[in-house]
């Protein structure tokens, strides 16, 4: 091979590489931009449960929330730091949607039904905004739901007052209007990021 021929081959190779790169970039341009939260589409079963709604004592099912974009979070009302911090972050993210906030529900499922009465859950949910729905169930119902979404929780030893702490997953699952799981928000997810993703899900 002559030196000139090798140079031509190299040039062709570079051109081919550049074309390939452009093609890839064009391909990326056509696909959707990445989500702010973690995309877990298809990794969890669709929204399904049977629990009691704190606001009116009615039994509600996962399918009752079809048509809404749903944020599912597990916690307990005697949690002074992590749960209020998460709920406040979620409700601020939803409020930032403006009128579209009405199409979003934040489901707060108590993993401490022994202390979380319906009345307690109702006032607690209301403190975080109109989109928060407090949900209560029997230990069996909660076990089934937490197992379905691979959420863990456990109870600490009661103190002299009978107060105890509850450890629980910090995960927030986001479901689309069809009830399919789409995104996972962890403890560090900031409100504007959540708002951006909710806006996209609402536009689908």
């Amino acid at each position: 091979m002559t030196r000139a021929r090798a140079a031509v081959d190299r040039a062709a190779g570079v051109c081919f590489g550049a074309l390939l790169l452009m093609g890839l970039l064009a391909g990326c341009g056509r696909s959707a931009p990445p989500w702010g939260l973690r995309d877990i589409t298809g990794l969890m079963p669709p929204l399904d449960f049977s629990l009691t709604e704190a606001s009116d004592g009615a039994t509600v099912h996962g399918k009752d929330f079809r048509g809404y974009v749903v944020l599912l979070y597990f916690g307990y009302t005697h949690c002074p730091d992590v749960c209020p911090t998460t709920l406040s972050r979620l409700s601020r993210a939803v409020a930032a949607l403006g009128p579209q906030a009405e199409q979003v529900r934040i489901l707060f499922v108590s993993v401490d039904p022994a202390r979380d009465t319906l009345a307690q859950l109702k006032t607690y949910g209301a403190a975080f905004g109109p989109q928060v729905v407090g949900l209560r169930g029997s230990q069996d119902a909660i076990k089934a739901l937490t197992k379905r979404y691979r959420v863990s929780y456990g109870y600490g030893k009661p103190d002299a007052h009978g107060d105890y702490e509850v450890s629980h997953s910090s995960a927030v699952y986001v479901f689309d209007r069809e009830g399919d799981v789409r995104l996972l928000a962890d403890a560090t997810a900031e409100s504007p990021v959540i708002t951006g993703d909710l806006r996209r899900l609402l536009a689908e």
Partner: protein
């Protein structure tokens, strides 16, 4: 015996009386309000201007039966709370009590509280020194 006890008591009282506020600066002292009887969290930042190490060992408030130093931990996607015996403060160091980390756990409120009110909280240090700090009560949805 009685006299010894009395002088010990007097000494203790004198020591408490002598213990002035330590050289620290407190910032953004606030409580996130929650409804009913639920425990609430208090947040603030503390900067030591002392020349020797300080230890924050506790807190108390006339508005609550119990105030404890707590810390939230996130491990493997699970959140839990642990009781903290003390928080060390090196000279010049700032420690921030903030959502998801160190916080005061304010339990068993003695009277109804509403956002907008102010509550005194006394921080207690390792040498028996104390500092009263006004904490403002903020809404549940505050940051």
């Amino acid at each position: 015996m009685k006299r010894a006890l009395l002088s010990a008591l007097l000494l203790a009282v004198t020591m408490v009386a002598q213990a002035g506020p330590p050289p620290v600066a407190i910032g953004d002292a606030r409580i996130r309000w929650l409804p009913g009887e639920l425990p609430m969290a208090g947040y603030f930042s503390i900067t030591s201007h002392a020349s020797t190490p300080l230890r924050l060992v506790g807190a108390a408030s006339p508005a609550f039966a119990d105030v404890m130093l707590h810390r939230s931990l996130h491990e493997g996607g699970v959140a839990r709370m642990v009781h903290v015996d003390d928080v060390a403060l090196a000279p010049g160091q700032t420690v921030v009590f903030e959502p998801g980390g160190y916080h005061l756990m304010l339990m068993h409120r003695k009277e109804a509280l509403q956002p907008g009110e102010e509550v005194p909280v006394t921080l207690r240090f390792g040498d028996g020194e104390t500092l009263e700090v006004p904490f403002r009560v903020e809404g549940a949805q505050s940051k």
